[in-house]
């Protein structure tokens, strides 16, 4: 399957990654090669095979609904690149 630069650009936007023009060039070639390799899977007969999302036969795992200590807010904010009034600070969302 051919993968155009526009497709790579669009998917990168979905993934919230801004690519440089030279990255677009390289990635569209490489991704096409990788996706072509993945087409090998079309040979496999899977019409009656259920999907495996993970290998454990776990269903719902329940635990007691008990109050446990949470992380300290100030300790968590220590890592924030920008903070204000004990909160994370981000660019304006609503103009």
């Amino acid at each position: 399957m051919a993968i155009s630069k526009d497709t790579v650009k669009y998917v990168a936007h979905l993934a919230r990654i801004r690519l440089k023009p030279e990255e677009l060039d390289v990635f569209s070639v490489q991704l096409e090669e990788i996706l072509k390799y993945m087409e090998k899977l079309n040979e496999a007969e899977v019409s009656h095979i259920p999907p495996t999302s993970h290998i454990l036969s776990l269903k719902n795992v329940f635990r007691a609904d008990q109050v446990r200590p949470s992380l300290d807010v100030d300790a968590v904010l220590e890592n924030a690149p920008k903070k204000k009034d004990r909160q994370f600070s981000v660019p304006k969302v609503i103009a």
């Binding site: 979905l14 090998k40 899977v46 095979i49 999302s53 290998i55 924030a80």
Partner: protein
């Protein structure tokens, strides 16, 4: 022999007998680091070795396992200077067992994306056996540190071979436990249905000991199952009489290095001589493991890595974009390295509208076929033996330009992650150029005991694990 060259079990005996003090181990490690770390670069650069703790046997920790208050950066710019406010469950368990955690973290491919430890924001690690070659990856720093005697033992993580392949390249022992055996709480997630933490050690006995310490149920990780943890050190029995070994023909095909093949066949012969029975088996869907893996792993990674957006931790762009979306896109464009971007974009693509069924769902179905292959073999056989990697360590830069070529170096390790079964790599030879070769043993899920028994028997009848690199 210097103390840093001994195994953890040997050192613990000396500590218990009060022959040595913990500080003597530390100073011998520091001395070794001063001699060799400049060449090997097993640890994240700028690491300060003065703060190796004074109490208990120290464990080296991969840079993607959270250590409270200590840098945990996944060797990525986007997590620069991140100091987790909590310890991963494995770190808690290590401390509770009286061991100590080294403050210097080991190098890795960014977010564990790679098979060579070249994709680290902090620069490549070098293989102690030949510093022009890669140590394997992504836990290349942990494996190189142990191989160079710069660490007594270490923790790594394995999503598609990231413990076993570097262990094989560096001539040490690497274990990927059964999926669900070890809590992933505090392991910065790459692919949640495949990731497991495991030990990298100098011998099988240390592997069993550290595996026992870190395994077990955890309410912080719903997939860490509530099955009692056996005392794996009791499985260290020198006896393989009656053990049924399957050797899959699909693993001995084009692409397998002749010298590697020769050493694996010799290992099989030895186990036969020691009383095991060996037969050829079929794992017919092996050829699909790699494409299945690179769909499932990148899909899960694209979702897991959505959290790195310049808000809660790590790096944020300086560029003065107008909107929140601009900030996200610039931060992620500048903060992730090439391989991380490639995988996130690939994973987003295979999950996107119109492609989900063709790629992701189909891959999950083929994953079932791969798992069924193993289930069928384990009905008759106790274990499967294969090479860990098709080649010995390759040169730095050799595969960097071609991602697909790099992915192929995990071709023998990926199936165990897809099937969730345990697998170990242990040294089984040196090539003419004195590069280590790794033997991989796989058993059915939650049967680490059989794995250790076979590995221990092989190791105790050979001396490959005693070979040291000449740095």
């Amino acid at each position: 022999m210097n103390l840093n060259q001994l195994t953890a079990r040997q050192l613990q005996k000396k500590l218990d007998a009060k022959e040595i003090k913990p500080q003597e181990i530390i100073s011998s490690l520091k001395q070794r680091l001063a001699e060799s770390e400049e060449k090997v670069r097993a640890y994240v650069s700028g690491a300060d070795f003065s703060s190796i703790p004074d109490e208990g046997l120290p464990v080296a920790i991969k840079d993607n396992i959270c250590t409270k208050g200590l840098n945990t950066q996944c060797c990525s710019k986007i997590l620069k200077d991140f100091k987790p406010p909590y310890d991963a469950t494995v770190i808690k368990k290590i401390k509770e067992a009286g061991l100590s955690v080294q403050s210097a973290k080991t190098n890795m491919d960014e977010f564990a994306f790679g098979s060579s430890t070249e994709n680290s924001f902090f620069g490549a690690t070098h293989n102690p056996w030949d510093i022009e070659r890669v140590p394997g990856g992504s836990s290349g720093g942990s494996a190189a540190a142990v191989a160079a005697d710069e660490a007594i033992w270490a923790l790594g993580s394995d999503t598609g071979g990231s413990i076993r392949q570097p262990a094989s390249f560096c001539g040490v022992v690497g274990l990927k436990p059964t999926y669900g055996r070890v809590s992933r709480y505090g392991l910065i997630a790459f692919a949640s249905s495949l990731d497991q933490i495991g030990p990298i050690t100098k011998d099988v006995a240390d592997s069993a000991w550290l595996a026992k310490i870190i395994s077990g149920h955890d309410i912080q990780d719903a997939t860490a199952v509530d099955i009692p943890v056996p005392d794996y050190t009791k499985a260290l029995v020198k006896d393989v009489k009656g053990i049924k070994i399957g050797v899959p023909e699909e693993y001995f095909v084009e692409g397998l290095d002749e010298e590697v093949k020769e050493h694996i066949l010799q290992a099989i012969e030895l186990l036969k001589k020691l009383g095991a029975t060996v037969k050829k088996v079929k794992l017919p869907h092996t050829q699909y493991a790699l494409p299945v893996y690179y769909i499932i792993a990148t899909a899960e990674a694209s979702s897991n890595l959505a959290r790195f957006d310049g808000v809660e931790y790590g790096f944020r762009t300086d560029s003065k974009g107008q909107s929140l979306i601009d900030m996200y896109e610039e931060t992620r464009g500048e903060g992730f390295g090439s391989e991380a971007k490639r995988r996130i974009i690939l994973g987003t693509y295979v999950l996107s509208h119109g492609y989900y069924e063709a790629y992701y769902l189909r891959a999950q179905k083929v994953r079932t076929l791969i798992k069924n292959d193993f289930d069928a073999v384990f009905k008759e056989f106790d274990c499967i033996l294969t090479p860990t990697s098709p080649t010995p360590a390759f040169k730095i830069g050799e595969k960097a330009a071609n991602p697909l070529n790099m992915y192929l170096s995990d071709i023998y390790t990926i199936p165990a992650n897809l099937a969730g079964i345990p697998a170990i790599s242990l040294p089984c030879g040196l090539t003419k150029k004195r590069l280590p070769v790794g033997l991989q043993i796989l058993t059915k899920a939650f049967d680490e005991e059989t794995l250790f028994r076979i590995a221990y028997t092989y190791e105790q009848n050979t001396s490959w694990h005693l070979e040291k690199p000449k740095l």
